[in-house]
């Protein structure tokens, strides 16, 4: 039975550590002196921790929205292109996936830094009077994550668009619809399953992107992944960081399931991509 080794691996590498995490989160203090729900109550009653969670989820949502807005024009150009351009666009979309996260992130540091490409270009063109703070800012972080996560959005959107029957847009055009109306009433609703799938992937990936968040956001913006790291490695408060991890996991998966369920209820007549 080839299922048994797989089940054993799943149990040893996923179920056991998760159970350990749950167990650790239930200790009252870092000295492991007794069991209680103290760590969870501490999180829920601490405005700082709640703010870190909501900022992190908001970052994921914002990056997912930014990739969504970029993905549609890209996908529309892709679908309208010939075979050569399609290969080229696919290559460009896949490019971020072919480089390591650390390298990509350092590239953004070079671009966004105080003496980076953007600042020096803007200063020498005389458009900006002083260098702007791009690195270690919220906007810089959204920008870098958007570039890095774009493939996760672009590929499902392109896939749904390719599956869209060309006669549907032709029918809408023949019935007198403008391009904007065709997009809003035919293309967008019928590619929504792909867009939602992409949105959820990017949301989860951006909210949990520890390296990019830490390097581009610097130490200035505290988000859940670095908060957990700091509590575990810095403060050595293992029970609290275990509770943070579980709360964060539940929040992200909860949102993914809720949006998935909502979209299944409201997207009628379209096969899920």
């Amino acid at each position: 039975m080839p299922v048994i080794p797989l089940a054993a691996l799943f149990f040893a590498a996923f179920v056991l550590p998760l159970a350990a995490l749950v167990l650790v989160s239930l200790f009252r203090d870092p000295q492991f002196s007794g069991l209680s729900l103290a760590q969870y109550l501490r999180f829920l009653s601490d405005p700082f921790s709640l703010k870190v969670l909501s900022d992190t989820l908001w970052l994921g949502a914002e990056v997912a929205l930014a990739t969504l807005i970029l993905a549609y024009p890209l996908a529309l150009v892709y679908v309208a292109s010939g075979p050569f351009m399609r290969t080229l666009i696919t290559f460009l979309i896949m490019l971020p996936l072919l480089t390591s996260t650390v390298v990509r992130t350092f590239a953004w540091i070079v671009i966004l830094g105080r003496d980076g490409i953007v600042n020096s270009a803007m200063l020498s063109l005389g458009l900006w009077q002083a260098p702007a703070r791009l690195l270690y800012s919220w906007e810089g972080m959204v920008l870098a994550l958007t570039q890095i996560q774009l493939p996760l959005m672009a590929l499902p959107v392109i896939n749904s668009l390719l599956r869209l029957d060309g006669n549907l847009t032709r029918a809408a055009e023949g019935l007198g619809a403008s391009r904007a109306r065709i997009f809003m009433t035919v293309i967008l609703p019928l590619t929504l399953p792909g867009a939602i799938a992409g949105w959820l992937l990017v949301f989860a990936a951006a909210a949990t992107a520890f390296i990019t968040q830490t390097l581009v956001g610097g130490g200035r913006i505290i988000l859940m992944p670095s908060y957990i790291y700091q509590q575990a490695v810095g403060v050595q408060d293992w029970p609290f960081s275990a509770a943070l991890s579980l709360i964060f996991t539940l929040a992200v998966t909860g949102i993914v399931f809720a949006i998935g369920a909502l979209s299944r209820r409201f997207v009628r007549g379209v096969d899920a991509a």
Partner: protein, 373 residues
């Protein structure tokens, strides 16, 4: 309501010198066609003949390389598809799968920003005519093929189109349903008095629907005629075999009105064949124009291969001495001279005036001569 509807008149359509090429491939060449307002035209041809290109040019999805498209005399090549007021019915119906039947029919009216009350009234009227009123809230995926087609037509007609274009509209339907839908849609289009063009590769569909049929082959119009005229007086060898079934018999002109068939006898056609003596010709004889007869001068001897009963008629196939297959169709009840396989029978052409004469294509002649040597 009927009176109000018959006020709606279709455009007349003129195509002048239309040519279109995709790269080096010529899809359409020198197309000239005039369609009167309210006429129902079929564009008929095998796949790759250019009929879909022609439809896309009329609809405005494609700009012709050459030539003029006129609606009611006015040129429209520069007008985009969404402002041509054309109702399209697609092969797969192309109903919007996420919108209800009501919203599908309302789509063109919403695009025109008509008031809601007017949209509701118009959609209700269209669904009533298409006998789909009770399905207004359904999604297209919940309908049968015939029902989807009714909705597609209602959607196309709801915008009061000057022209309705139907692209292979019946090919997705069961054979049994097809004739019913053809009759229903023809009568609906005629009630509206809208000019309609049906693109099809199915000659039965063209024959049953159209006032006139335009036969396209290799990007050119081969013949424009009524269904009966196309069948009885095909203008080319291609049309004689494309429209209905026919038997092609090779021969050589021996006199002003006589042809010596390869199959044996010399036939008196009762009219001038308008070709020189010695010219190789091909005669097209419809299966129902051939009957079993007695052995006599002018009769064609064949060896019977098989007889196939086809409901009202039965078709017998035989082979001539020159190796040409001949089909004979007769009312099944007739039962005269029912030949068995392997037997020799004598065939006679019932009405020589209904035999079409064509010059044998050059490549056929060379093959033929090689064989007869």
């Amino acid at each position: 309501m009927e009176l109000a509807l018959s006020d709606v008149r279709g455009h007349s359509l003129d195509l002048k010198g239309i040519g279109h090429a995709f790269g080096a491939t010529v899809a359409l060449d020198e197309i000239n066609l005039t369609v009167a307002a309210g006429e129902l035209i079929a564009l008929l041809g095998p796949s790759g003949c250019g009929k879909t290109t022609m439809l896309q040019i009329i609809a405005g999805f494609l700009r012709p390389s050459r030539g003029e498209v006129r609606f009611d005399g006015a040129r429209v090549e520069h007008i985009p598809a969404n402002r041509r007021r054309i109702g399209m019915v697609f092969q797969n119906y192309a109903l919007f799968p996420h919108l209800s039947v009501f919203e599908n029919v309302a789509y063109g009216l919403r695009a025109r920003k008509r008031p809601n009350a007017e949209i509701a009234a118009k959609v209700e009227q269209m669904l009533g005519l298409a006998q789909m009123a009770t399905y207004a809230r359904r999604l297209p995926g919940e309908l049968s093929g015939g029902q989807q087609q009714r909705v597609a037509l209602a959607r196309a007609l709801a915008i009061d189109p000057g022209l309705v274009l139907l692209d292979e509209p019946f090919s997705a339907l069961d054979k049994n349903l097809r004739l019913d839908m053809q009759i229903e849609i023809k009568s609906l289009l005629k009630t509206f008095g809208v000019t309609s063009i049906i693109v099809t590769h199915d000659q039965e569909e063209a024959l049953s629907m159209a006032d006139r049929i335009v036969v396209l082959n290799k990007g050119r119009i081969e013949q424009i005629d009524s269904p009966d005229a196309l069948y009885d007086r095909p203008a080319s060898l291609f049309i004689s075999s494309f429209i209905g079934h026919t038997n092609l018999l090779r021969g050589t002109v021996t006199d002003a009105d006589r042809v010596q068939l390869d199959a044996g006898p010399e036939i008196d056609l009762g009219r001038s064949v308008q070709r020189r003596r010695g010219t190789p010709v091909t005669l097209s004889v419809r299966p129902e124009n051939i009957a079993f007869g007695a052995e006599r001068t002018g009769a064609i001897p064949v060896t019977i291969r098989a007889t196939v009963p086809l409901g009202a008629i039965s078709v017998t196939e035989g082979v001539t001495a020159s190796g040409e297959a001949v089909k004979i169709s007769q009312a099944r009840a007739a039962g005269t001279a029912r030949a068995r396989a392997g037997e020799t029978a004598w065939l006679a052409i019932s009405d020589v005036s209904r035999v079409s004469i064509f010059s044998t294509p050059v490549d056929d002649v060379s093959k033929h001569q090689q064989r007869s040597v």
